[in-house]
């Protein structure tokens, strides 16, 4: 394939990935990397480099809108970013020492887990939870615009959330993904932050998490400009389309899109990884 054929193809795939990434709070990287490696045979290190950079675009592009609309909680974001950025540094160092076949298998397993967790849903009832001292001290409790005015929420299990966020950061640096799935799980399921606040705050945090490993990726040569160009532009375009849909989309539908796509990609990644090492 020549550049003139390859670039538009990569752009199209990336646009679709970016759209889905924004809709689910996942970040486009999770779809872009399997697509590039499985469909086009791109080396996984180039794919995760391009993906990591483009999730910064997804995150920042969509976050700009959500922050203004009042869905994201910037204090929760900054508080948890301490954990995600430290994790991201560790992950990026690990990435340079891990064989690519193992990276592919880990990638697949992470995806499968995300799909399974997100399809389970969560208990609706949050009353009777003990207030969290850390949440009070760091002013994490907040409110967001719902159908009938502001909806207030209380954050619980902050320490569990921090631990999960460190893990999410490590996976982000290791796999070049935004790790939005794990971030949403940490906030939505562990800390009991409302789903829309979780997805948009996750989106907001992804850029900073990714930037923490981007410097290491750059110096290791994972960021190949000619490949990253259509990936980044495509994911950005897709994320803007996806972000526009989020406000109107129903949460239940989101979960199913999220789970279905991710599961298919996951199985393919695991198979390709096992084949590569066999």
């Amino acid at each position: 394939m020549t550049n003139l054929e390859f670039t538009p193809l990569v752009f199209a795939i990336s646009t679709a990935a970016g759209c889905l990434g924004a809709l689910t709070g996942l970040g486009g990287g999770v779809v872009v990397t399997p697509a590039l490696t499985l469909l086009l045979g791109v080396d996984i290190r180039y794919a995760i480099g391009a993906s990591l950079v483009s999730v910064i675009a997804t995150s920042s592009g969509a976050a700009a809108a959500f922050v203004r609309e009042g869905y994201s909680n910037i204090r929760i974001g900054m508080f948890l970013e301490v954990a995600t950025t430290l994790g991201a540094l560790l992950g990026a160092f690990l990435a340079t020492r891990t064989p690519t076949s193992i990276l592919a298998v880990i990638f697949g397993v992470v995806l499968l887990h995300s799909a399974w967790m997100s399809s389970r849903g969560r208990p609706r009832d949050v009353a009777g939870q003990t207030p969290d001292a850390l949440a009070e001290r760091f002013k994490l409790n907040g409110a967001y615009p719902a159908e009938h005015g502001l909806e207030h929420y209380r954050v619980v299990r902050v320490k569990t959330g921090l631990g999960l966020m460190f893990g999410a950061g490590t996976l982000s640096g290791l796999l070049g993904i935004g790790s939005g799935a794990l971030k949403v799980i940490a906030m939505d399921q562990a800390m009991r932050i409302p789903f829309k606040v979780s997805t948009t705050t996750s989106n907001f945090m992804i850029g900073v998490t990714a930037a923490a490993s981007a410097g290491i990726y750059l110096s290791r040569g994972y960021i190949e400009p000619a490949l990253t160009m259509p990936v980044m532009l495509g994911v950005l375009a897709g994320s803007l389309i996806g972000a526009r849909q989020l406000v109107s989309a129903r949460v239940g539908v989101l979960r199913w899109i999220f789970a279905g796509v991710v599961a298919v990609m996951a199985v393919e990644m695991i198979v390709s990884g096992l084949r590569g090492s066999g």
């Binding site: 675009a57 700009a64 301490v82 001290r137 850029g207 981007a214 290791r220």
Partner: protein, 124 residues
């Protein structure tokens, strides 16, 4: 002057993110058009990993090559602008929390900023 509160900070962050992404996209697109116009019919294949050239792997190298109008370095410069966008957002948050006299969040933000700076220019 309007006092600094979370709502105003959110407005500025929104503008900052939008501007950074837009600027970066324009530079990447310009570099991309430049690259395609010169290498349209060259084979594209990224099956085998060869670490990108030194001139695309450090901030200094990218700046120098982009200065001499190397198309791929121009793309890389746009990508660096993109990476700098969340860093700038954290930097702005630091100032905002300082103006709100929120010491806890100033400290938290400094830790995040230190990690980001280490990744970009630290020894590794």
């Amino acid at each position: 002057m309007q006092p600094w509160n979370d709502e105003r900070v959110e407005q500025v962050i929104s503008v900052l993110l939008r501007t950074g992404v837009l600027l970066s996209a324009v530079v990447v697109l310009a570099g991309g058009v430049c690259f395609l116009s010169q290498h349209a019919n060259a084979p594209a294949g990224y099956h085998d990993f060869r670490a990108a050239l030194d001139s695309y792997r450090s901030i200094r190298g990218v700046l120098r090559s982009a200065g001499s109008l190397d198309c791929r370095a121009i793309i890389q410069l746009g990508l660096l602008l993109l990476i700098a966008t969340p860093v700038a957002r954290v930097g702005f948050s630091l100032v905002a929390f300082w103006l709100e006299r929120d010491r806890k969040y100033v400290a938290l933000t400094l830790v995040v900023l230190a990690v980001l700076v280490f990744s970009l220019i630290g020894p590794h």
